[in-house]
Symmetry: C2
């Protein structure tokens, strides 16, 4: 793999930015990667673990002379950081981001982008339940999708270059418009996260079942929800505040469907339940066939879940 | 490990029974294990893969001379199978089951248990999204909990023997009364399963987002739901039909909480969301600390998710 951008600046040093750094280094996609984080503690951690070639004390210093600037901060922090760096962006460079909601990021960042700078929003669909500068790893994006959401008048050369960069980090790349992105993600990510958070909150709240029982007996299904509900609270607060309409629409559909299934339970309508549960199996098969998940039972989580071990 | 029961009969040969067979063999817990499945195809598969020492053509034949009979059929099939085998059960032996709902199984099976036979219902909290005779493996129960739900007047010797048997298969063993069991499982398993099934159904149904998009972009959270929603439809239909009250109670609490979070989103109440999402993280930590899940990011699903690989 060869250098795509001479110098890359990562603003915000959490799970995504730190994974990007290791993925860039793995494939030699940039000659220098600078980094900035608002918190002094994060900057110190980054320096200690060798995250970024140079960790800067200000965002401005980090983006100076950068050919690609990637905003990796929570969505609610995008506007302020864009304003802050606006004046030092070089002509002809690209600014991008990794936010989980695209319309809100575009609205927040676009006003601060100089005319001669390309703004190509992006969203790598990858993550884990861990967060912070120490949670990143080089393979996070391998075979995951990265969605680019360029404005209509975007420069094709700038799009192609950013695509090559994400492909270099292991991603598959697609393009989509911002509103469709926000709807698709409401289905595949935002609604499931809110639902998982809700279920974990309910379990924690229930007085007649102790936390200890919930923890001990979680392997029966609940623990998969707790993984999702362990995700970064700041990031997710901002996702829901900024993808409000699409999330509420999907949650509305979800509630409607849940009520129908609750009624089927109450009325002992076994056929309705059986048909519904049969239909949902095929989506799983599709995901496994598309290489987006493992067919190993329990995600291969049980190290010994190996039929050869019989 | 030494023999706990001379002869064990497994009635129904799906994921749980087949895993029990391999776990029994791994530790030498019985000298002979017989098996029966209603479907001729399942019996044929069992013979082909060496599942059970002897696969019988009738349930009666399988339980003849057994010292432990374990009913491993869907809950809705328990009553008929118990009636069928009732007349051939030896004096002093133990009948148990592995059903996910205990009150309903007790009501269905108890009338068919002769006076001189011990009935000790049980529920191993273990499983995967796969089903059928080929899905079992010896380590399924390792470090998972098995809940025994003995009647009040149960024979202590019979309870101890069944405990030793499950411990021999790798489980931790607890005791609980049937109604509390059904409530705890409604929280840790039944409600989460219904919610996962619902969300996957909604995604499949949504016309403005294609199935192809749902599949490609599932890694953002949704795919964990699809694993749960790929579970056996017959088993889960029966769970919801027989643990109706507890499941509906928990779903009611869930909906109430979901509505509160939806309102927080609508009203842009970021603090409420942030506080809620912070609280749910601690349950996850408890589960990992209790050895009921891995702390590896993404369940260790990404083979390369290894910080050493930076």
């Amino acid at each position: 793999m060869s250098v795509v951008y001479e110098r890359v600046a990562l603003i915000g040093l959490g799970l995504i930015a730190s994974s990007m750094f290791w993925a860039i280094k793995r494939s030699g996609l940039a000659n220098e990667v600078t980094g900035f984080a608002r918190s002094a503690e994060t900057r110190q951690t980054a320096r200690r673990i060798g995250l970024c070639d140079r960790v800067c004390e200000t965002a401005k210093e980090a983006v100076e002379d950068a050919d690609l600037v990637v905003l990796c901060v929570p969505i609610g922090a995008m506007e302020a950081i864009a304003k802050d760096i606006s004046s030092v962006l070089k002509q002809g460079i690209t600014v991008s981001d990794v936010g989980s909601v695209k319309r809100a990021v575009i609205d927040a960042v676009t006003p601060s982008i100089p005319n001669n700078v390309h703004f190509i929003p992006a969203h790598p669909l990858a993550g884990t339940e861990h967060s912070g500068p120490e949670s990143g790893f080089a393979s996070l994006f391998d075979n995951r999708w990265c969605l680019l959401v360029p404005p209509e008048d975007a420069d094709q050369g700038a799009i192609d270059k950013l695509s090559a960069f994400w492909q270099g980090m292991g991603s598959n790349v697609d393009q989509m418009d911002a509103d469709h992105h926000d709807l698709v993600l409401a289905v595949t990510s935002h609604a499931p996260h809110l639902i998982a958070y809700t279920m974990v909150g309910v379990a924690d709240d229930l007085r007649r079942v102790t936390d200890n029982e919930v923890i001990k007996y979680s392997a029966a299904g609940f623990r998969d929800f707790t993984r999702i509900a362990a995700s970064d609270p700041t990031m997710w607060r901002d996702v829901f505040l900024t993808n409000k309409e699409a999330t509420l629409e999907i949650l509305g559909r979800f509630t409607e469907e849940l009520f129908a299934l609750q009624r089927a339970i109450r009325q002992s309508d076994g056929d309705h339940l059986y048909d519904y549960f049969t239909r949902t199996r095929s989506i799983r098969r599709g995901i496994v066939e598309a290489g987006q998940d493992t067919d190993q039972p329990d995600f291969g989580r049980s190290a010994n879940a190996d039929r050869d071990g019989k």
